[in-house]
Amino acid sequence: MTQGITTPLTQALEEGKLTRDELKPLMQRSNVPALRHLALWVLVLAGTTTLITLAWNSWLIWPAMFLQGIMLVHHFSLQHECVHYTVFRTRKLNNIVGQICGLIILLPHRFFRYEHCDHHTYTQLTGKDPELIPMPKTYGEYLFYLTAIPYWQAKFTEISRHAMGRLSDDEKRFIPKEEHAAVFRDARMMLCLYALIFVGMAVTGWWELIWYWIIPLFLGEPVMRFIRMTEHVGRPTVAQMSDNTRTNLVSAPWRFLCWNMNYHAEHHYVPLVPYHTLPRLHEKLRDHVHVEPRGYLGAHIDILSQIQEARA
């Protein structure tokens, strides 16, 4: 029989930080905000793509690809929202958009859902949280993580393992047996699709996707690593949600890019709340969660000062 657990939400309701009446309107799903957001998203993406085209024969293509990369890696944020089924009202639409995002950034959607569920169950608990980014012990470790080399190593190893029909011991813990075959199939299909795209480019001689997609993705990933570090790294490795997660107050363009996931502590309290009502949830919970008013940079100043203190 399933054992009952107390979720952060149930705890917040019991402690009076939130009431059910306050929460109910915040949880309502709608397609409208997401479709508006997505329309602007496509426009910005078209803009960065155009910049690459305009800069094609000059060194300016590198900053243009970097900008494109920042957009591309933020498909992670959209996919993350889709994992929670909170972008659109219907699960089908969340799954379709999530899978497209996953294809762009090499992250099979089904696997990510199961991994991310475990992250929400064991947030910031060493040895249990599958998405835990360890606190760097040295500046070297800090910089190496930001290169995204360890991230890509892990991702390529992961998808290859799944395509070969294997799971790690941790993955066996959080993926139900009846879904193992589907996880393997997803990985194989994704790799086949990439192979098909590359064969298509070789046959047609049209290699532009490398410049519009692949190189920008690798150029942009350090930015996503920089942002992902601000969510939990440097916060205590304890189960208490008000301590182990950081909310970062950032400017509107960054909130647009990350689909409001800078309100990360609020998201962990109530993952059911769609991205577009997270700012309102923040108003309710801001005195009960850890808030970094200086934004992403402030979070990194905090992380770097902790590395410095540990070395002193």
Binding site: I5, T7, R91, Y114, T121, P271
Partner: protein, 104 residues
């Protein structure tokens, strides 16, 4: 045939309209769902991670877990969205004299 007698658990007027209501019957926590096609009830714990479904999101006939967003159709308890894979334990429900009754 189920010989357990019917018992009143909550007045229909006390249910949250088009939402899920938590009802405590002795040591059991029960989720009662007010849907467009009638009232349904299940044990409140999610079969995936054990979270309290009464704190979840309810829409039409679907209850979504507050922790991992696994979802179930409350008409038959079947899981309809990952990570939920096992059905909910449904309870027999009827309405008599303005009271929601169950055999528990």
């Amino acid at each position: 045939m189920n010989d357990t007698p019917w018992r009143d658990v909550i007045a229909v007027d006390e249910l949250e309209k088009a939402w899920v209501t938590r009802v405590q019957v002795e040591r059991r926590t029960i989720a009662v769902y007010d849907t467009p096609t009638g009232i349904y009830a299940s044990l409140a714990l999610c079969t995936h991670g054990g979270a309290d479904l009464c704190d979840g999101y309810f829409d039409d006939h679907v209850i979504e877990c507050p922790l991992h967003q696994g979802a179930f159709d409350v008409r038959d308890g079947k899981p309809i969205a990952a990570p939920a894979t096992r059905a909910m334990r449904m309870l027999e429900v009827r309405v008599r004299d303005g009271q929601v009754q169950m055999r528990i």
